[in-house]
Each structure stands twice: as C-alpha cells, then as structure tokens.
C-alpha cells in the first residue's frame, strides 16, 4: 500500500469526525497497537535499509502529528460535550439531603463517659462494683447500722431484697469499702453504675438509675480539696465557669456532709423556674469520709482522711437534653434513642 494514500485517508476521515465516539474509533483504527500505522511498519520492515529509514521517519512523524491532533480534538470535544450536558442542569441546593441511618449511643452512656473522662484527668481511676450486695457492704460498712434511722429509711422502704437477704445495691457507695480493702492509699477512684431503689415510678422516679461515686483517701484531705475537685468537675462538665456553694447536710457515711449547689445556669442566679427562684440548683451530695467507714475499709482513721461524693448520671443527662421524663431512659423507644 502507498503510504501517502493511507495518510490522505486518515486526514480525510479525521476532518469528518464530529464526536468523541467517532474520535475513539478513529484512534483505534489508526493509532492502536494493531492499527493501520503499525501495520504499515510491518510492510516497511521488508524494504531496503535506505528506503526503510526515510519511510520509517516519515511514518513516525505522521503518527506523532496525528496523535497530537487527536489529543487536541479530544479535549475540545470533551469540553463541548460537558458544556452541552450542563445546559439546563442546576442542582437544587435547597432540596433535603438523603436520610442516612447511623447508630446511636444511649444518652446516659455518653454522659457517663464524659464524667469518667473528667475524673480520669484528675487522677481518679474508674472501677466497677457488683450490683448484688450483701447487707453489710450496702449498709453497715457505710456506717448505716441496724436501727439507724437512715438504715430503716433505706432498708424498710427503698431496698430490693433477694432470697438470702442479699440486696440490690441502693447506691454505688457500697463499693467504697471493698476498694479500700483492696487498694493502698492514696486512693482515687470513681465508681459508675446502675443502682436500685424501691420506688413508685413517675416522671422523676425510677427503680433503676445511675450514679457515679467518687472516693479520695489520703493522709491529707480536706473540705478545701473536695470543694476544688467538685468545682473543677462541674466546670469541665458544663464547659463554663461555675459557682458552687456547700450547704451542711447529713449522710451517715460522711462527716461533715454537704449538699453542693451550683449557681443556676439558666438564669445566672437571678431566680427562675428551673432553680425554684432560689438562683441555685442542688447538684450532688458529698462529705469527708466518716472515720467508721475508713475503719471498715481496714485503714487507720487517725492517719487517713478522705472525701466521697455521689453524682447522679440521670439528672445531668436530663438537664443537658431537657428530658422531662426519666422513664424514657428505659423505654427502648427508638424515637427517643435515635435523637442522641
């Protein structure tokens, strides 16, 4: 075949091409591994050396030119085709995004983790206790002996009993003495977990609820320390500056005992419905560990002091998300669970 004929054909065909599909066909026909130009090379192979050199060069040059032409046309055609496609095509950015199903952690798991993290940052190790307790650890060890009005109030009204007189723990404090016996001071622990109270359930009372109990035992521990740790915790938890006050209170397992109030975050202390117009919100109970409890933990109360506190997990979760019924937590209702 005559090379100039091939050349002419190719050039003519190229001129007629109108879209990228035709261009691809053209490219396959002439420029691919098994294309016309390649085929021509096999013909050139059999020519005399001089001729081969001249023709070979001519073919190579032609191929290069053709390739660059094809490339240029391809770019142009793509551009044209994209422009044509985009004509009249506009995304409705106001249309809603697609609904994506994801998993959800229970809101109390999230709050509990946050609390644990804050206490860990202050050197408190997280430990867990058992939910079935004997009476001694649930009451006596915490200085709530038989006959104590607090014992009667708890054991005769608020405690679930099992057949062999074991109880379902009424507070996570029951783990205090167990860990005092196990660990050597200085002790810094928090015990989160599920507790049980015999209650008539309503929007703010549950038979199962959650607490995080804290305990620090050391040779020196003071009300001043307790105040600082709790203030720091509340500031980190609420992610803002908070003001607290200690109000004298009474718990059998601490002396002195306090109720900690926090300046109401809704009204900044001016008085509103969430703080019952007092400007303060009761947030947790705390105190210096009673010497009898330290003794029950196998330590010398003359040498070791400490403080303990109990924080509800349910209430701050309700506060945080403005949840108005505590029973939703155990409802298993996905309309609730999928919100968090």
């Amino acid at each position: 075949m005559d090379f100039s004929e091939l050349k002419n054909n190719a050039e003519k065909e190229l001129e007629k091409i109108v879209d990228s599909k035709e261009l691809k066909e053209f490219s396959d026909k002439y420029l691919s591994k098994k294309g016309e130009i390649r085929k021509f090379f096999s013909f050139v192979k059999d020519l005399a050396l001089e001729e081969k050199k001249i023709l070979g060069q001519e073919i190579n040059e032609f191929a290069t030119v053709l390739e660059s032409k094809v490339l240029e046309m391809e770019k142009e055609m793509r551009k044209m085709e994209r422009e044509k496609k985009e004509e009249g095509e506009k995304i409705d950015i106001a249309a809603p995004g697609k609904v994506i199903e994801t998993g959800h952690l229970h809101p109390m798991t999230q709050v509990r983790r946050e609390m644990e993290k804050i206490f860990e940052s202050m050197g408190f190790s997280v430990v867990e206790g058992q939910e079935i307790e004997d009476e001694w650890h649930n009451f006596d060890a915490l200085n709530i002996p038989e006959g104590h009005p607090a014992r009667d109030a708890l054991s005769l009204g608020k405690t679930f009993y099992l057949k062999n007189k074991n109880v379902l723990r009424t507070q996570t404090s029951s783990a205090q003495v167990r860990y005092m016996k196990k660990m050597k001071p200085p002790i810094r622990i928090v015990v989160p977990g599920r507790v049980y109270r015999y209650e008539t359930t309503d929007a703010s009372h549950e038979i199962n609820f959650y607490q995080i109990e804290g305990l620090l035992i050391d040779e020196n521990a003071s009300v001043a320390n307790l105040k600082a740790v709790l203030q720091r915790f509340l500031e980190l938890f609420f992610k803002r500056k908070v003001e607290i006050r200690l109000r004298p209170s009474y718990f059998p397992f601490t002396e002195p005992s306090f109720e900690v109030d926090m300046r109401c975050t809704v009204c900044e202390g001016k008085g509103c419905s969430s703080c019952k117009k007092t400007g303060w919100v009761e947030i947790l109970g705390t105190g210096m560990v009673h010497p009898n409890v330290i003794k029950n933990g196998g330590l010398d109360p003359k040498k070791y002091k400490g403080f303990a506190f109990g924080i509800s997990i349910d209430r701050p979760t309700m506060m945080k998300h403005k949840i108005n019924d505590i029973r939703l937590f155990h409802s298993g209702n996905l309309k609730f669970l999928k919100q968090f």
Partner: protein
C-alpha cells in the same frame, strides 16, 4: 447556709411560716422552735430567751393518784403529772392560729397544749383521761396478737416487739407513736395524766415503719431525743394547761428514770480541725463557736476538752465538733484547693472493652438501649426461664432479675416495628443467674436475614480482635431449631445467634427478627488490640472452589483448620458456602463446599501452580479428615 435549708417562707395571717428542712442528725434538738431559736441566736449573735414555766401546785400529792411501772428497758424515762379540775374547751384564738400555721388541727385546749409544747420543745407529750385508767400505768411490750384501737379509729394487731403504755387491763397507747382510743380526752374529762417520756429510738423507728404509722411523735423519738428534756417539757405543758383551763396541778412528778444521761467529753485537737476543713482559724475562735452552741470547753493546750450537752446526742466523735465549727465559721470562707497530684488514673480494661464494643455496634448502625434489670411473671413463663426472684418486687412486671435480655429485646422489636422499618438495637448489660452477675451483649435486627446479622457479628469479632469464632447448630429451646447458631470462641460456647423458637414467635406475635446474645465476660477474655499489617498484594487473587464429603460430626471450624494446616501462606482465605445433608449423601456424612482464595505478594499465580496446590491440599485432606472429593 450554716444549719438548715429554709424550703419556703409563707405568709399566714400576721405571721410568717418558715418551712425548714431539719437534717436527720439534728432532729433530736432542732425539730422544735427552741432548737431553731438556739441556732439563730448563735448565728445572729443574739441572746435566746426561754420562757420559764410558772406552776401553781396544790397540796395533793401525785403519788396518791398515780403509780407508774416501767417493765421494759426500751422505756428510758417516764415522767408524768396529774392535773385536776380541768375544763375541756376550745383553745384561745392565738393558740389555734399558731397550731394551724404549723399544720396542726385544733382539737381542744388540753390536746392543743400538748401539741403546742411539743412543737416548742421537741418533746412529744400525751394526755390521758385519768378516770379511764384502770389501776396504774404500766410500760411493757405487747403480747402477740394483742389489739389496740388508735385515736384515729384504726385497729392494730401487735406483737412482742411493740412497746405499749397500758393500764392493768388494756393498752392505752403505742409508746412514742400514737395514743389509744381507750382513755382519750373528751368533753367530760375532769382529771388528766400528762405523759412526757423517752424511748429507745431504734425501737420507735422500726415499729413506726413496720406499722406504717409515722407520726409527729415517732419522728421526734426516732432521733435520739434528750431524756433530760421530759421534765422541763412537762412543766411547760402543765403550766399552759393551767393557764388555759384553770386546772389544779397536783404536787410532784412521777419520774421513772433509771439511768440518767450525763454530758460526755470529747477531746478535740485544734490542728485536726484546721487540717480537715482546710482553713486556719484560731483556737479562741473555735472555743467561741463551741461555747455559743452550748458546749462547755476547757483545756489550755492544743487539745480541747469539750463537754457535750445531752441535747446534742448527735455529737459523739471529734469530726462532729469539726462540723459544728466549720458550719458556724462558714463553708463559703473555705478556699478551693486542688489536692496534690498523686498518680495517673489506671485504665480499666473491662470498661475499655465495653466502650469499644459499644462503639463498634454504633458504627454498625445499632442504637443502644437500656432495659430494666427486672423481668415480669409473663416473660418468665413465656420464655420458660429460671430467674432469681425479688422478695419485695414493686409489681408483677418487675418480679425477677433478668437471666437474659432477649425477652426485653423482643418487646423492643414489637413496639418499634410499628414505626420503623429498620430496627437495630443492642444493650450491653448485666444478667443474673442464681445471684451471679454476667455482662452480656444482646442485640436484635428486624427481618429474616441471618447472614446479615452474622456479618455484623463478624465485624464485631474482628474489631475486638477475637479469633477462632465458629458457629454450630443449637438445641437451646428458646431459639429456633433450624435457624439458630451456637457461637463458640476457642471451643467455649459464648452465645447464640438466630431466630426465636416458632412457639415464641407465635405467642409473642412479633415481626420477624434475628437476635443474638453473647456472654461478654467470656468474650472479653479473647479480645485483643493486636493487629499486624498484612502485606498488600498488587497481584490478582485466584479463586478455587472445592466440594467434598466428610463425617457428619466434623465441625466446620475443624475442617477449616485442617484446610489451613494443609496449605502454605499463599492461601489467603477459606470460606464455607454450602453445607448439605440428605439425598445422595450417606446418613452419617455431610457435603461441604468452600471458596479458597490464593494470592501471592510477588507474582501473578498461574493456573498450573494453583492446581497443583489444590491437588496437594485434597490429598492431604483425604488422609487427615477422610475427605472424599465430589466432582
């Protein structure tokens, strides 16, 4: 901020009523106007004025009227007086108004006087109609089955734990709790016996709660009332009744008080006070605070001798005194000082793996639920469970400790399927088997897609680093016989995956759903963070399928292990895709088929190499597990 919380301030007439939340340890001295006045006098630095009783006694002697026999040591003191010529009538307006402001009803002048003085002093008082007492007063324990009608017309059947005030014939009152119908004050009453007594506080607390009869009197007795208060209080009430009704007061008191309570001493180290509170106040200031509260302080060294008045039975140990000093000084003045750094918190591995598992479930699109630790009679029966019974359940719905979370998950499916097409829920929580606590991970997915849920679990196991998981058929009756796998890790059964038994599905009337429950305590033993990078191959993998007949008893896991043991490192994955028993296969055999994937990091494997590896494998399997190849 120093003593108690004032819960509300209410205007009643010309008076203001303060509703004060007295703390339980101070109920002994502060459930009274005297007690609160004392607190205020200390905090406001003012003098407290106590009204002294003004008694005009006649010449008659109380001994000639009344005998009191205390037969039981739970009565610590019994003080009584007799008043004659009493005219029962309505109380004057001032007294009625004061009682009503305090939430009491006005009854008649005598009863009102006893209530009024109780509110004033904290000492419960009672008046009996003298004429109705047979013989003298006897304080004793009730006999089993003995009955008594209280003033509020309710009959109680008593036992030997109940302390009674009685006469020679019948009970007159439940000691420290409530008076009886027998000798109540009526319009015709002329002569009265006043009672001002003190009882064992533990006994009163327990009796009142057992009888579900907590009264103004019992609440005060529950909290270590000062036995030395009876005499002052009885004189106050006698003087008031005389003033209100013109009664004659018979001379003397009958006072049975075997062991007199005397003030006691506590040694207080002043540096302990400052150390425990974290302040620095002077000895002089401490002494001033304690003295103002009625403590008698002596001692010139660093150690104070503090004599505690009998009205403060809550003060027993030095820490009680430290609290007194702290609260009067003011906790608002205590600085906030962070404790010194000790050591970093230790990682709790249980919580670490629990959190990790929860996060994986969340990644898989599951929502986390919390269910109660209790199940009801119905779940127990329907699921045929063995469960630990709660002695005092709140209701039939919460009668047992749950031995599994599956029934609660079934309820979640049932209730949510009305609103959702896609239900994926899990809980990681405790279950109870004969009082042993086990952590389980339970989940449910709506639909019938067993392999989908198995896929979820595979991801869970993989991300927890759990290896050697195998699935075999289950015979547990809660689960569907043909649609359930027992899950094993390292040979231990750790749970189930599948549908509920046909029977349960019918009874529960729930949508199709797949459930799983894993013993998390057991699973956790196999969890690991170890994960080595696997070389990425740029050469194509080659797939070969093999099918063969093996003994029916051979577990899939064992076959996989045999295949892996008989191959080299080029075998990248073994996956079962068919298990068949029945027609064409001997009854003690089963047919199994596997996908094998071969891949090299260095080169593209040619079919000759692969075929020879497969042939070698089949030959080995023939010897090790008697594999008969099926073509």
């Amino acid at each position: 901020m120093h003593s108690f919380e004032v819960e509300s301030v209410e205007k009643k007439g010309t008076d203001c009523v303060l509703n004060i939340d007295v703390l339980p340890d101070r109920a002994g001295d502060c459930l009274s106007h005297w007690g609160i006045a004392k607190e205020l006098s200390v905090l406001l630095n003012k003098k407290m004025i106590v009204l002294a009783p003004k008694l005009k006694r006649n010449k008659l002697k109380v001994k000639d009227f009344l005998s009191v026999k205390v037969e039981d040591k739970d009565c610590l003191r019994y003080t009584s007086m007799v008043l004659t010529d009493v005219k029962i009538g309505p109380s004057p307006k001032w007294l009625q108004e004061k009682l009503i402001a305090c939430g009491q009803n006005s009854i008649n002048n005598v009863v009102d006087a006893t209530n009024f003085i109780m509110l004033e002093t904290g000492q419960p008082l009672h008046a009996f109609d003298y004429e109705k007492i047979n013989g003298g007063i006897i304080v004793r324990k009730a006999r089993k089955g003995e009955k008594m009608m209280t003033l509020s017309d309710k009959e109680y059947v008593l036992d030997e734990n109940v302390l009674l005030i009685s006469d020679s014939k019948r009970p007159l009152a439940l000691a420290g709790i409530k008076g009886g119908k027998g000798c109540e004050i009526t319009e015709d009453t002329k002569t009265i016996v006043l009672e001002s007594a003190n009882f064992n506080h533990k006994l009163i607390s327990q009796t009142a709660r057992r009888l579900n009869l907590r009264t103004d009197a019992s609440i005060r007795f529950e909290n270590n009332l000062d036995p030395n208060l009876t005499e002052i209080a009885i004189e106050r009430v006698a003087s008031l009744i005389q003033e209100l009704s013109g009664a004659q007061i018979v001379s003397g008191v009958v006072d049975v008080y075997k062991t007199k309570l005397k003030p006691w001493n506590i040694k207080l180290n002043i540096s302990n006070v400052n150390n425990l509170i974290g302040i620095d106040i002077s000895k002089a200031e401490m002494v001033k605070i304690l003295t103002s509260l009625g403590f008698v302080v002596s001692g010139s060294s660093n150690i104070l001798n503090v004599l505690v008045p009998t009205s403060r039975q809550d003060v027993i140990i030095p820490e009680n005194l430290i609290e007194e000093i702290g609260r009067v000084y003011g906790y608002d003045k205590v600085p906030a000082v962070l404790p010194c750094f000790s050591e970093p918190a230790k990682t709790n591995l249980d919580i670490y793996w629990q959190n990790k598992a929860k996060d994986i479930m969340k990644e898989l699109g599951f929502s986390e639920a919390y269910n109660y630790s209790f199940i009801g009679e119905e779940e127990k029966t329907v699921f045929d469970l063995k469960a630990e019974e709660v002695v005092n359940p709140v209701s039939n719905y919460y009668k047992y400790l749950r031995p599994t979370i599956v029934p609660q998950m079934a309820r979640i499916i049932k209730e949510n399927s009305k609103f959702f097409k896609d239900v994926r829920v899990f809980e990681l929580g405790k279950v109870f088997n004969s009082q042993k606590e086990t952590m389980v991970l339970t989940g449910t997915v709506m639909g019938e897609d067993f392999s989908l849920v198995k896929g979820y679990l595979n991801i869970l196991f993989d991300k927890l680093g759990v290896e050697k998981v195998s699935y075999s058929s289950s015979t547990n009756k809660m689960w569907h016989v043909k649609k359930t796998a027992e899950i094993k890790v390292g040979g231990h059964v750790i749970g189930h995956l599948g549908s509920l038994s046909s029977n349960l599905i019918e009874v529960l009337m729930i949508e199709d759903a797949i459930f799983f429950e894993l013993d998390f305590d057991e699973l956790q033993k196999h969890c690991s963070d170890k994960k080595d990078y696997e070389q990425i191959s740029y050469h194509p993998p080659a797939l070969r399928d093999i099918s063969g007949v093996v003994s029916e008893e051979l577990e899939i896991e064992e076959i996989v292990e045999a295949i892996e043991n008989s191959s080299n490192e080029l075998l990248k994955s073994v996956e079962v895709f068919d298990v068949y028993k029945g027609k064409g296969i001997a009854s003690d055999k089963k047919s199994v088929s596997f996908h094998l994937i071969y891949q090299s990091e260095e080169k593209t494997l040619d079919s000759k190499t692969i075929d020879s590896m497969v042939n070698e494998l089949l030959n080995k399997l023939k010897q090790t597990i008697s594999w008969e190849e099926r073509k």
